[in-house]
Structures are given as structure tokens and as C-alpha cells.
């Protein structure tokens, strides 16, 4: 019985991944390419030398920031689709500091990071206020604020911050070298500082959720805001704080993109990494330690796929397709597992699950209560 169950669990973990690979392979065949070549190209793109590996890490770092922020909002039962915009605003604020403030690197970097956090938190709190004070569902607020952030970035690049030779809408002029995050070595161009910061954030979020009153407040608010309020949890502030903290952490991810990955502000500086973070966190059911691990796999695919266009003239969206299928099928396999395990004779509590905390339109309900 238990052995069967273990087999089942493993099978339902492996099957969706294999199936997504299969679907992707079929797609590749359909456009007349060889799936094996695609796979090789991706792996080469990710691991062919230390520079390539650094490329993976450079995706992983901002992705991890996004994931850890999202773990917090998801714990509070909030769909922070606005994470993408929060990264962008982090990038914008960091860019402002990099362009404007003249200080030696060790002094400037902390200022940039703090400003990036402020920018992300600002964009997060807007979604939060729309949600908890004004009853606009955070999904819609987030989508709109993502778009607005993107508009702002493009405005800055083609307007006030355009290169002296004229706006090409491609990027701002490069930031001064003192304002950029230093790299570990030319062979392994990764920012040690950011790496350490990511690890610190992982552990902080993990322990904050387990051991602090704030973490418990988030959990209670996420599972049932009405009850939480009656038990004395300040649900409105808790929800707002989740948006603020998530925005701040995501903002660092945005700063990393402009201060290290690029050396300037470009259109869509977040590059879809926030959305990818949402997928990762959904897939790992909101676990703060597993998210970075799965995130690494996704970062590998993302970094490796940059080579697809060079080698095979294939659109990079193939990587997103693969990632999307993996997450979709993993979630469906979770459901299948629940369905099989909750067959009549097993424990009754599986059936008793609460309806999902967020439905698109019950937006105001949780907050309007206070």
C-alpha cells in the first residue's frame, strides 16, 4: 500500500515533466527542427563554460528575489501579478541613483539597493491600496500597474534619459562604472554581493514565515481573512505589508538587472522574470526553500534558450512554452494525486479543503471587513 503510494507520488512527479518535454519535442518537430539539437543547444547555452554558467546564475538571482517576494504575498492569499511592475520600478529607482548620484561604489551600491526596494515597495503598495482600500482585485491592479511601469520605462528611455545622440528607445546611456555591481571575475561574471543577498533573503523569508508573529498573521490572513480579523489580526495592514515587502524584494531583483545584467535601463528590464517567478512559486506550492531550487532549473532553461536563436534560428519563446507546460502539468498531476489518494477508504480530511482563497471578484470582501 505505502510502497504503491510512493511509486504513485514519484510517477506523478516525473510524468508531467516527461510529458512537457514530449509536447515541446513535438512542437519542435512541427517547425522542422530536431528536438535533440534543441536540447543540446539549451544545455550548451547554459553550461558550455563558466561564462555560460554565470549567465544561468544571472537569471537565477533576480528570479529568486521575485520568488521569495511572491512566497510572502501568496502566503497572505494575494495574487501579486504586479511583481513584474515592481521589479521594473526597482530598476527605475536604481537607475535614477546610478545616473544621478556621484559617490564611490561601496557607498553608492547600498543607496541604489535601498532606492530599488523603495521603488518596488511603492509599486507594490499601489496594488495593495487598490485592493484593500478600494476593492480593486489585485490581479487587475497588478496587470495595469505592470503596463504602467513599462510605459514609464519607455518614456524615460525615449525622453528625459535618452542618450545625447537622440532617443532610439533602445536604452539609456550606460551608467558610470562606479554605480554598477562589481563582478567576481571576468571568467565568472556574477555579483557576489547579490548572490549573498539572495541567500540572506531566502533564509530571512523562511524564518520570518515560520517563527514570527508577522508570518503567522500572513498565514491566517491568507487562509481566512474574516476569521483572522476577528482573532485580532490586523488583516488590512498585514495584506499591505505583504505587498510592500514583496515589492521591496522584487525591486532588488529589478536593480540587479540594470546594475549588473545590463549597464543601463532598457525597455521591459524585468524581462518576464516576475511572471516566471509566479510560475515557480505556484509549482512548488509556495515553499520558500524549494522555490530557489526549482528556480535554478528554470533559470537554466531560460539562460540556455538564448542560444536557440543563434544556433537554430528558433524563437526563444520555446523555453517559455516548456516552462509553462511543466507548471501546468505539475499542477494537474497534483490534482490527480489528490483524486487517487482521496478514494473512499482514505482519510476524510482531504475532502474538506477550503475553497480557494482568491476568486477574481471576491476582491473587496476580505478587506472591506475592517
Amino acid at each position: 500500500m505505502t510502497a504503491n503510494r510512493t511509486t504513485l507520488r514519484v510517477a506523478l512527479l516525473v510524468a508531467p515533466i516527461l510529458l512537457s518535454l514530449l509536447i515541446t519535442a513535438v512542437l519542435v518537430l512541427a517547425v522542422g527542427k530536431d528536438p535533440i539539437e534543441v536540447m543540446t543547444a539549451i544545455l550548451e547555452g547554459a553550461f558550455r563554460n563558466s561564462n555560460a554558467i554565470a549567465g544561468v546564475v544571472n537569471f537565477w538571482i533576480p528570479l529568486t528575489f521575485a520568488c521569495l517576494g511572491l512566497v510572502i504575498t501568496f502566503t497572505a492569499g494575494l495574487w501579486n501579478i504586479g511583481v513584474e511592475g515592481q521589479m521594473m520600478m526597482g530598476a527605475v529607482f536604481a537607475s535614477w541613483a546610478a545616473r544621478t548620484i556621484v559617490l564611490p561604489t561601496p557607498l553608492l551600491i547600498p543607496i541604489e539597493i535601498v532606492l530599488a526596494m523603495a521603488g518596488g515597495a511603492f509599486w507594490g503598495v499601489l496594488v495593495g491600496v487598490l485592493r484593500v482600500r478600494l476593492g480593486v482585485n489585485e490581479i487587475f491592479g497588478g496587470v495595469a500597474l505592470n503596463a504602467l511601469a513599462s510605459v514609464i520605462v519607455i518614456y524615460l528611455i525615449s525622453g528625459p534619459w535618452q542618450p545625447p545622440e537622440g532617443g532610439s528607445a533602445q536604452s539609456t546611456p550606460p551608467f558610470p562604472a562606479e554605480s554598477l555591481l562589481p563582478e567576481m571575475s571576468p571568467e565568472f561574471p556574477v555579483s557576489l554581493l547579490a548572490l549573498v543577498l539572495a541567500l540572506v533573503i531566502i533564509l530571512t523569508v523562511y524564518f520570518a514565515l515560520r517563527g514570527t508573529r508577522w508570518g503567522l498573521n500572513l498565514k491566517a490572513t491568507g487562509k481566512n481573512p474574516r476569521s483572522a480579523l476577528l482573532l485580532g489580526v490586523p488583516t488590512t495592514q498585514t495584506a499591505l505589508s505583504a505587498f510592500i515587502v514583496c515589492g521591496a524584494i522584487a525591486g532588488i531583483g529589478g536593480a540587479y538587472r540594470v546594475l549588473f545584467t545590463f549597464d543601463s535601463l532598457r525597455p521591459l528590464p524585468s524581462g518576464g522574470i516576475g511572471f516566471l517567478g509566479l510560475l515557480v512559486v505556484l509549482m512548488v506550492a509556495n515553499h520558500p526553500l524549494i522555490a530557489p531550487i526549482v528556480g535554478f532549473v528554470f533559470a537554466t532553461i531560460l539562460a540556455g534558450s538564448t542560444r536557440l536563436r543563434v544556433v537554430l534560428q528558433l524563437d526563444q519563446s520555446l523555453a517559455e512554452v516548456l516552462q509553462g507546460f511543466v507548471v501546468l502539468l505539475v499542477l494537474m498531476a497534483n490534482g490527480l494525486r489528490g483524486r487517487i489518494l482521496s478514494s473512499p477508504r482514505s482519510s476524510p480530511e482531504v475532502v474538506q479543503e477550503q475553497p480557494a482563497p482568491t476568486t477574481v471578484t471576491s476582491a473587496a470582501e476580505a478587506a472591506s471587513h475592517e
Partner: protein, 489 residues
Amino acid sequence: MEIELQHIHKRFGRVHANNDISMKLRGGRIIGVLGENGAGKSTLMKILSGYQPADSGAILIDGREVDYHGPQAAIAVGVGMLQQDPLDVPAFTVVENFLYGQPPAMTRREARAKLAQISREFGFELDPETPSARLSIGQRQQLEIVRLLALGVRTLILDEPTTGISAQQKTILFDALQALSREQGMTVLLVSHKLEDVIALCDEVVVLRAGRLVGDKMMPATKAELVQLMFGQEIAPQERSSGHIGDAVLELDSVTIQDRRVRVESLSMNVRAGEVIGLAGLDGSGQEALMRACVGLINVAGGRVRLNGRDLTRQSYRDRMHAGLAFSAAGRLEEGLVAGLTLTEHMALMDNSRAMIDWPAARQLSGKQIERYNVRGRAEDRIETLSGGNQQRWLMALLPEQPRVMILEQPTRGLDIDSARWVWQLLLDRRAHGTAIIFNSPDLDEIVTYSDRIIVFFAGRFHVIEDASTATVDALGHLIGGNFEEAAR
């Protein structure tokens, strides 16, 4: 129409809700299905009316075994059930609710005519164009009865129909049920835990206890006999008791409340230490709004709320809790407990004092409270795995030890008599130490038994009974229907 149940079994997890129940129900009679909360009577009736399948057993109608799936199939053989919370669609108008589920050929016009005709027959007043959401429970029951009759039901099951309706509505209902059985030869099954209703209406009773059929009896029978059957022992009626009443603690100074359903205009009242105030009224008449306004979940539109002279009117719910109020809502798992959190996590939530949680201390405290409040469950269990009675105990265990005023929505909702009495024992202990209690209940007995003062609400208007010992259930029943003028005379 004769119904026979044979060896019905039904389990929910560990609970054996129906345990080998067999009975024969003769046609043309009003039969009381008696038992306390949790005895399994609703489950049995849901099985009979197709809402739930039995795990095993058979249903015979007029000697032939039927095997139906779903309530519509049960209606097709003539068995219809009125649920405690009538199953209408709130967004639909009365006529839409009536029409939905009738044979496909029926037009809106025919529906309107038929609705009017059956309503007239029983003295029901139903306006076809009113949205169901704006009806009282009594009217929604009437609508559902009319609907089931139009579908040709010959056996009508009613689940606790007298809870939450006024005395006037009850009279209309009982007249209708009597007419149905005496004149039209229908079988009526009245599910109830209220002996008075059963005695007043029924020709015979069947009694369930802890999932088993423990007896049946032809009426008339005395209350004592029925109690003996229901509980297997005699239960002394709860004595009225009064504590020492002190000075005013909570002052309401011409408070005006406006919520979505009702407006309560300038209510003034002093709640004194050690006093129990019972709020009576049909669902949504203003009593819930008043309680929620007291604790700050609804803003008052005018007036002041003071606790020990301190103005709380603009304070938040949390501040009022710190000031010495305590509140628990009617829906335990909707508003009160957080499904998905363990007992210990609930306990940790109550400690506001520091930023880090001391888990060992929280676990220890939970263990202590589990013992003290006699909760069947472990500290690491998720709250939703406990039974309703044990959830209520844990909710009580979470409330502060000695608040100034406890404000409780339906504190014994859905509890069996042991749990209910246990809850009240606990509350009365706290009252003895000077805590004032404000509560409401659809069970008028409970209000009469435990209150020192009673406030009756009807559509936002209110009537105060200064000395609750003069109140009777019957008089209250008329008051909640809005007969304030009569009471004043």
C-alpha cells in the same frame, strides 16, 4: 403513500450518522422526527429525499423499492424536502424561483397563476416580482413549499422549519401542514428538536439518538416522555439564574446603525456588569447589526459607544478588544477559526506581545487549554478536523479570560445539549465574575432561559423587555413578528 426505510447506514468519516435505521411511515399523517442536534435526523431525511445517497439500506415507497439519485428524482416519486435554509436562488425573483425546476412546458404566465393559486390556498403572501434575497426565512419557506406542492409532492419533509420564523408565520405554517395532511392526505415529516412544536402538531413521533432509532410513539405524549426518549434520561429544565448586577459598563448612546439590510435608529442602552442581555429577532432584523456595531465591525451612523466611560465610537475592532470587549461570530469556520491552522497556531495568534513566536510556550498553553476546556483534539490538529462542539470549545478557550463585555452571536449554534449547557456554564461563570454578556439566538427558549433583559428586534425597530423573567417563548414569538403594539398594551 407509505414509506419504509430498511437498514439505512450512513457514515461521515468517523461519525456513524445513521446506524441501521429501519422504520415504516404511514401516509396521511404528521410525523415528528425528533432528536437533538447531531442525532442524525437531517441526514436520514436527506437520504429519503435524494440529497445524499445512503451507504447501504433500502427505501420502499408503497411497497416498491426505489433507487433514486438526486432530489429531483425523489420529487418525481413524490418526496420533497424543505431544507432548514430553503434552497432558493437569492438573485432570482419569487416567480423565477418557482418556475425553475417545473416541467419545461410551463410558461412564466402559467407559473405566476399557479404560484398565486397555491399561495392563496394557504394564506401565503408572496409577491412574484420580489427578489428572493429580500424575503424573510418564513417567506422563503412558503415559497419552497408552494414550489414542491406544484411539483406534485405527496410527502413533505420539513427540517427545523420553526427556527427563525415568527409566531405568526408559525401559525400559518402549522395551519398549512394540518390542511395538507387532514384534507389532502399528504404525509408530513417534521424534523425538530423542539418538543412544543412536535406536541402541538404531530400525530406520532420517531426518535433518533446518536445515529440510531431509539423509539416511536403515538401522540399525545407528555414532554417528559419525549425527553426520556430523546436523551435516554430525564433532563431537568435549565433553571433561570441571576447574578449580581453591577454598574453600567457598556453604554450605547442613541446609536444609529445602517447596514445593507436594515437601519436601527437611535438605540440607547446601558449594559451593566454581570448582566445577560438576550437579543431576539428574525434573521437580519437589527440584532446582528447592533452586536457588530458594538465591536466596531460596522460603523455607527450616529450616536456613541462607551466602555467604562471611555468613548469607543471611532475605535477599531482591535482597539475595542484591547479595551475589554470580546466577540465571537455565528459561523465558526467562516468567522472565528481559521481552517488550515492548528490549535497551537490559533493559540499563538492570540499572543500579541512579541514579534517572535515562542512555539514551545504556545504548545504548552494549548495543551493546558485542551485539558481545561475538555476539547477532543490534539494541539497539532488542524481546527477543521474537530467536530463542531469541539471547535466551539476551542473558540471559547481562545477568548480572553475575563473581558468586560462578551458579545456572542448564537453561542450554541448546532451544538448538542451537553455542549450547549457546557458553553452556558462557562459563560455564567464569567458573568459571576462581573462580565456582561450580550447574545442572540434564533432559539427563543435559550433567550428566555438565560437573559436578564431582552431586546426584541423587528425590521430595525426594537422593544425592550426590562425583566426577562416575565417573558415567555410564545410572547417572544409574536414580538419577533413585529407585534410591538400588542405587547405595549
